[in-house]
Symmetry: C2
Subunit: 373 residues, 2 copies
Amino acid sequence: MKFTIDRKYFYNQLSIVSRAISSFSPLPALSGICINVQDDHIVLTGSDSNISIRSHIYKGEENQLQIASTGSIVLESRYLLEIIHKIESTIVELEVMDFELVRITSTNGKFNLNGMEASQYPNIDFDQPSNMIELSKYTLSQIVSQTAFACSENDQRPVLSGVNFAAKDGYLYCSGTDSYRLARKTITLNENANFNITIPSKSLQEVVRSLSEDIDKVQLYIDSKKAQFVFGKTIFQTRLLDGTFPSVEKIIPTSSVASMVVDAHELASVIDRTNFIRNDKVHLVKLECSPEIVRIKTNSTEIGSSDEVLTDCMYKGDNLTLTCNGSYILDAIRALSGSKVDLEFSGDMRPIRILNPEDDSIVIVVVPVRSYD
Amino acid sequence: MKFTIDRKYFYNQLSIVSRAISSFSPLPALSGICINVQDDHIVLTGSDSNISIRSHIYKGEENQLQIASTGSIVLESRYLLEIIHKIESTIVELEVMDFELVRITSTNGKFNLNGMEASQYPNIDFDQPSNMIELSKYTLSQIVSQTAFACSENDQRPVLSGVNFAAKDGYLYCSGTDSYRLARKTITLNENANFNITIPSKSLQEVVRSLSEDIDKVQLYIDSKKAQFVFGKTIFQTRLLDGTFPSVEKIIPTSSVASMVVDAHELASVIDRTNFIRNDKVHLVKLECSPEIVRIKTNSTEIGSSDEVLTDCMYKGDNLTLTCNGSYILDAIRALSGSKVDLEFSGDMRPIRILNPEDDSIVIVVVPVRSYD
């Protein structure tokens, strides 16, 4: 195995596949990047066995790839990235010397890195499922930023640690919930797809981080075992979560008894500045709403209390007092990313729908908590 | 106790004194800021019992201070800072309500914070020692950035975790050493001072971070127990380290058998990019020097090896091969902050002097290590 390549291009591709590599890899070989050099292209693979990323580098002007001999090797990801990042050279040469030693040559110096035989790298199935939908980079990023935050962070019900993608009747419904709150994004599909899968939220966040500026569209291939995101020359695949995702339609209230439209920045600021007034580490805020005045209060015997009035706020309905987790409201405001937020109340202790008045593709539901003060 | 004050000004002063407060405070009261309101000014105090910071706020145009009643209270530092930072108001009001409850009032809201009686706050002696020298902010910052890095990070010999300040014959000698390396900065004094004290390096780093832009000069008051840095309306005092500081003059070689002047950026880059090639976590670099060529090599059985040639380098003397801790050389180059570095070798396994050819006020000494390859 011997080739030369543009250093920066190579570094970028290594960075992409290294995203899949965990510092606690289940198998020694998985802490490395598998480099497979074929006649006219190189295949780079990184994996933590849940997420696997493969990148293909075909000879081209932008990468200056020259292949002298084929072969394959596994190199420790963090060492390889550090060398390729730090050496001062436009073109870099990699060559397998005797056994598993790889020589990396730059203008003024050479590095020998101990590698591992490619035969020790697990065989990862990158076969392409037949079910496919296409999403723009913007849409995929939005789905992730507007739903993944609501997923569960503990492993009690594994299926809740992912975002459910349900395609039917020309729509894609993406839902995340930790059973105390829910975020649902609805996308119109061009394809007539029909599936129901749950993708780990961590995988989704990694996909979005891997999308470079020049990417415009992402193809999503799906079967019952895995989801494969294909963009540029990169395949990003992740295992799916087992288990039945709860039917979220039932949770979203269909009517409301009162509503409040409020300046998003003001509501976020008022809640955020009482963030330290917590009860058992939970940031509870009490909303005291009436058509005349809306107050936001917090109270902790240990720390203190607060009482603020919302200035840019329009409340319609009967007087209502509700207590919620302040962090959930803050997350909702951030995800909706509008200048106003619309809170639709369905009654005492009943779920609140939180909406962006200018974007009906996204709905967030937060369940109030009982307050004993 | 009741007063109003410009919020931003108050926040800045609170931030300064809060630097002394540790999240692991030895006494509950020390996790708070002590606010003492007198007839015409406020005194803020923060302390972790090693470092204590006191700031005086006198009525003035820039702070809009209005005092309605005197008194004192201790408020949890992180809560107070968070409120004062986040509320949206030009002027803020603080008032002690019944017992230890403090009401903080802004334009749209009020906060009640549980405080602690000021009688529970330890009595900290801020008396001013009589020995004084004056340093410019620039000089003090340079002393710290050029010597503190060389101090010991473990507690085996506590005195080595500080920078020794020795004043005699019109000079101030500032030295830091962990016994494997040494950094010494020499300053010409205007005062005829005579003292020998060792200040904890952490205290020095905090002093420098506390110096705001408008500060120009710092007065340093010293006795055998403490050092007091006075700037603006702030007193920053720290306990000293007990023990006799080693006489560093004996460690600094007075002659050399060979010397190397090298581009600082190049030497740093070559060493930095082999940072991961370590033996038992230590980054050893071997310098193979001859008038014709200087090579920098690393070797680790586990990870790999490297071999680079310095291009912008002038070596004079007999051939010499030496192994040092690469991190020590990098620290030295950073502290000297010149475009060139001058390495003066005093023989095989003998200390290396590292100098900036354009600044003779600072000398760094690094002891080579034995290499067995």
